[in-house]
C-alpha cells in the first residue's frame, strides 16, 4: 500500500511539471475569437483601414506623442520614454497583466498606462473605460500585434491567479453558470444564433458590433456576467484583473490581434 501511494505521488508530481497545463486547463486546440466570426467580419478586422477600431488606434497615437504638462514648465509625452530604441512597446501587451514591482499589485495594460501617467508624467489617472484610456490601450496593444501571449503566474502573482481561476470556475447569477461551462466545455457550439468562443482576451480592447464602439476586456467580462444574470463587478476591479491573468495564462501562445472585431 505504501508503495502504491508513493507511485501515485510520482505520477502526480510528474503531471505537475507542466505547470500551466495543470493550473489553467486550456481548450484544445486554442482558437482566437476571430475564428468564430463570419468571413465578412474577419475581413473587416483584417482591413486596417476599414476596421472601425483603428479610429481609436489613431487617437491613441496622437495622445501617445502629445506632451503632457507636468507643471513647472516641463512637458513629457509617452513617446519621450517609449521610442523605437528605448523601451519600445512592440512586445508589451503580450506580457500583461503583470506584477508592478513598486506597489506589489497585479496590473493590466490600462492600469500600467495610468501608473505611467502618475509616476512619470505627474498627471492624473484616466478613468477606466474613458475614450482616452481605451485609445492609448488600443494603440499600445496594437504595437504587439502578432506577438504570442506569454504570461505565467509567478510566486508573487499566484494568489491573483488562483483568485482569477476561482472566478472562472464559480457558478454565478440567476442562470447559475460559470465561465468554464461555456468557454471550456461548450465552445464551438451554438448559444442561440451565436457560436460560443473560447473566451480569450487576445483581441482587446476590441470593437464589438453589439456595442458599436471599442471596449475593454473588463467591459466584456461585465457583459458576460450580465448575460448569466449575475451582478457584474466594477470595471478595473482587482478580481477582473485577476481573471485577465488567468485567461492570459490559459491563452498562452495565442497572438495579440488588437484591435479585433467581435460580435
Amino acid at each position: 500500500m505504501k508503495y502504491l501511494a508513493f507511485g501515485i505521488g510520482l505520477v502526480l508530481s510528474a503531471c505537475g511539471d507542466s505547470q500551466t497545463t495543470r493550473d489553467a486547463p486550456a481548450p484544445m486546440p486554442l482558437k482566437s475569437g476571430t475564428e468564430f466570426l463570419t468571413l465578412e467580419t474577419q475581413a473587416l478586422q483584417a482591413d486596417t483601414f476599414a476596421n472601425p477600431a483603428m479610429l481609436w488606434v489613431d487617437r491613441g497615437q496622437t495622445l501617445f506623442t502629445k506632451p503632457v504638462d507636468m507643471g513647472m514648465g516641463i512637458e513629457k509625452a509617452c513617446a519621450d520614454c517609449h521610442s523605437e530604441t528605448t523601451r519600445p512597446l512592440t512586445q508589451s501587451a503580450a506580457h500583461f497583466p503583470k506584477l508592478d514591482e513598486k506597489s506589489g499589485a497585479l496590473v493590466n495594460l490600462e492600469e500600467q498606462i495610468n501608473l505611467c501617467r502618475i509616476r512619470y508624467q505627474n498627471t492624473t489617472a484616466l478613468d477606466y473605460e474613458s475614450q482616452d484610456l481605451l485609445a492609448l490601450t488600443a494603440y499600445t496593444a496594437h504595437q504587439s500585434n502578432g506577438q504570442a501571449i506569454s504570461v505565467n503566474a509567478t510566486p508573487k502573482t499566484q494568489k491573483n491567479f488562483e483568485n482569477g481561476k476561482d472566478y472562472f470556475f464559480t457558478k454565478r447569477g440567476q442562470m447559475n453558470f460559470s465561465c468554464a461551462q461555456c468557454h471550456d466545455e461548450n465552445w464551438g457550439k451554438k448559444l442561440r444564433g451565436d457560436t460560443i468562443s473560447q473566451g480569450h482576451g487576445n483581441g482587446f480592447p476590441a470593437y464589438r458590433l453589439e456595442w458599436e464602439t471599442i471596449g475593454s476586456l473588463h467591459r466584456r467580462f461585465a457583459d458576460c456576467d450580465r448575460g448569466v444574470r449575475a451582478q457584474p463587478l466594477e470595471l478595473g476591479s482587482e478580481t477582473y484583473t485577476d481573471l485577465e491573468l488567468y485567461l492570459a495564462v490559459r491563452g498562452n501562445g495565442l497572438d495579440i490581434e488588437t484591435p479585433a472585431i467581435r460580435r
Partner: protein
C-alpha cells in the same frame, strides 16, 4: 472624443483611371430610439449627409438615415480627371460639419 475621420485615396493616378475612395468617420449615429439607464430617450443625433467634392464639384453624395450603424464607412469610385483636391464632408443634422481633404496628382 472628437469625430475622427479616416480617408483612403491614392496620392497619384493616371488620367482616366478609376480610383477607389474610402472614408470612415467616428460618429455615434444616435438613432433616437434608445433609452438610457434611467429609461429616458437618448436624443436623436445622426449624420444626415455625406458629400465628396473633386476640385469643388460634387462627385458622390449620400443621405444617411437612422438605421445606419455607428461609425459609418463608405467606399466609392471616381475617374481621375485632373490633379487637385478631394474634399470629404459630413453634415450632422444639427448643422455641424466635419471635413477633411486630400491631394491627388494626376498624370
Amino acid at each position: 472624443m472628437s469625430n475622427a475621420m479616416r480617408i483612403s485615396a491614392p496620392k497619384t493616378a493616371t488620367r482616366g483611371e478609376v480610383i477607389e475612395l474610402k472614408t470612415l468617420i467616428q460618429h455615434d449615429m444616435e438613432s433616437g430610439y434608445r433609452l438610457d439607464s434611467r429609461g429616458e430617450v437618448v436624443p436623436r443625433k445622426i449624420l444626415e449627409k455625406f458629400e465628396c467634392f473633386y476640385n469643388g464639384e460634387i462627385i458622390f453624395q449620400a443621405d444617411f438615415q437612422r438605421g445606419i450603424a455607428a461609425n459609418p464607412f463608405l467606399t466609392f469610385y471616381t475617374k481621375a480627371t485632373e490633379s487637385g483636391t478631394l474634399r470629404f464632408k459630413y453634415t450632422e443634422e444639427t448643422g455641424k460639419t466635419f471635413e477633411e481633404s486630400v491631394e491627388i496628382t494626376v498624370s
